[in-house]
């Protein structure tokens, strides 16, 4: 499976918000069938890059291919993507199951849905309630269910475990590993580096809108002489500073 087209292929991607240059030429090829961790300090451009993948942010320059499709305003390529944002908010008056149904209607797919997380999170008795009455953590769980629902080829996750309790977070990680085994690609932006130690095959380190490191997690540790990713990244940042 890994010999396929890359999951994401960005060439010289740039984006500025007013005077702020957020992406300054991102060149990045995310291989398919692996879990790639996207790390970097705040304001490094992680969320902007992710939103560009989804077509939510329109890049100023460069070229971007996702799952082999050029991102140019046509929405169909997003059928292959499952997305979980940092904090998910839903139409307040709809119930959880209405939101899930709506996503199914929009994709017009008859394929069986992946409801494993719904069961494991024990959300079945919650999804009949209006979303506005759900707690923040429950909404986050619902958002996770939505990301996996259509068995996507590419999962794009922005700080997915930030609002989850340890048990839910464990279930979530297990699920990630199982979809990778099925051949899906995962792009995971996070600040929780210990999490990446468990999960990530590759690491992308983004700093000031450019890719400063991209390679297997093991390479990064070897290169910086650190046993854990946390130190490896810290070393990398220090290396840049000097």
């Amino acid at each position: 499976m890994s010999a396929e087209r890359p999951a994401v292929d960005a060439i010289g991607l740039t984006k500025r918000f007013g005077r702020l240059e957020v992406l300054r030429g991102v060149d990045l090829t995310v291989p398919s069938g692996r879990i790639t961790g996207l790390v970097g300090p705040n304001a490094a451009g992680k969320t902007t890059f992710i939103k560009a993948l989804l077509g939510l942010v329109r890049p100023d320059g460069g070229q971007l291919r996702v799952l082999g499709h050029l991102v140019n305003g046509d929405e169909r390529y997003r059928r292959g993507i499952g997305y979980m944002p940092q904090s998910a908010r839903f139409p307040e008056n709809l119930t959880g199951s209405e939101v899930l149904d709506m996503l199914g209607d929009l994709r017009a797919t008859t394929a069986a849905r992946d409801l494993e997380l719904l069961e494991k999170f024990e959300l079945e008795d919650q999804i009949g309630k209006p979303v506005r009455t759900l707690s923040g953590g429950t909404r986050q769980k619902l958002s996770a269910v939505m990301a996996f629902l259509f068995r996507p080829d590419l999962l794009v996750l922005d700080e997915p475990t930030a609002g989850l309790d340890p048990i839910a977070s464990g279930i979530f990680k297990e699920k990630l590993l199982s979809v990778r085994a099925r051949g899906s690609s995962v792009l995971l932006a996070t600040h929780t580096l210990s999490e990446l130690d468990e999960l990530a095959d590759d690491v992308v380190f983004l700093l000031d809108g450019r890719v400063r490191f991209h390679g297997p997690t093991e390479d990064l540790k070897r290169r910086t002489g650190a046993p854990r990713l946390e130190q490896a990244i810290a070393n990398l940042m220090r290396e840049r500073a000097s």
Binding site: F17, K51, L54, G55, L56, V57, R58, G73, D74, E75, R76, Y77, R78, R79, I81, Y83, P85, A88, R89, F90, P91, E92, N93, L94, E98, M102, L103, D105, L106, R107, A108
Partner: protein, 263 residues
């Protein structure tokens, strides 16, 4: 198109459960019923409702419309990450606002007339004109509300701009017309006043209602000019087309912003 109607279906369910839309219908209903009970016959009630429609409908459409778009931001973000195009999203959103508001208006104003139809007959033609004008105003001012909300990133500023705009259309405009007449009274003012009336959708609504109801006393200056120069039927046609233009143009401009926007 299929996606637009699906988004619309869910937006309708969301908005229909929204307390404000329901409150809007109830307020209109209570008001109309009260006018009936205060002893008016259907014709007088219609006349009293004229100003309610002209003042309240644009205000509700502008304020509720901007707030609606700001509060839908997360929903928009969620859906645009799905295989949904921006055209489908935008049309679904706007219809999901304009349809429930129009339905509330028609139900709130119309029901009491049906209930009291047995007492003194139903002035069907005038009622239909009143409701149609209310709906046209709703369409135009929700479209304008979308444009305002897309122009201002900041919620408070957008809401303020919407209120200012309503104030300009409902109050400042009339003062402006008076001022023009007072200052340039010695010149032929028909053409400038015709043009002036076209730039205010609220005044177009007023023209529609007054031309049809034929209440000269309430007509005001632009109305008199309209009637004098275009006659009733051409005047109605021009005002209707202009009001539809006030729906179409803001929608096109709004969509151009929506399409280029980062979420």
């Amino acid at each position: 198109m299929r996606n637009a109607s699906r988004i619309l279906a869910y937006q309708l369910r969301d908005v229909a459960r929204n307390r404000w839309v329901i409150a809007y219908a109830v307020v209109l209903l209570v008001l109309t019923e009260a006018l009936f009970r205060l002893g008016g016959d259907a014709g007088r009630v219609l006349l009293s409702l004229l100003n309610v429609v002209l003042i309240l409908v644009p205000l509700v459409a502008l304020t509720f419309g901007t707030l609606y778009l700001y509060s839908a931001r997360e929903f928009i973000e969620m859906l645009l990450a799905q295989p949904v195009g921006r055209g489908a999203m935008f049309s679904g959103l706007w219809c999901g606002l304009a349809l429930p508001l129009s339905a509330s208006l028609v139900a709130g104003l119309g029901l009491p007339f049906l209930l009291h139809a047995g007492e003194g007959g139903l002035p069907l033609h005038s009622l239909v004109v009143l409701l149609a004008t209310g709906v046209l105003l709703t369409l135009a001012f929700t479209a304008i509300a979308f444009l305002v909300a897309l122009r201002f990133e900041d919620r408070a500023r957008g809401f303020g701009a919407a209120l200012l705009l309503w104030f300009a259309c409902a109050v400042v405009y009339d003062g402006l017309v008076l001022l023009v007449i007072a200052v340039f009274g010695d010149y032929p003012l028909e053409t400038p006043l015709l043009i002036l009336s076209l730039i205010n959708p609220l005044d177009l609504g007023r023209l529609l209602l007054l031309l049809d109801f034929d209440v000269a006393a309430l007509m005001g200056y632009t109305g008199a000019v309209f009637k004098q120069f275009l006659g009733t039927s051409l005047g109605l046609t021009v005002a209707t087309i202009a009001l539809l233009g006030w729906t179409g143009v803001p929608l096109v401009l709004g969509f151009r912003r929506f399409r280029a926007r980062d979420f």
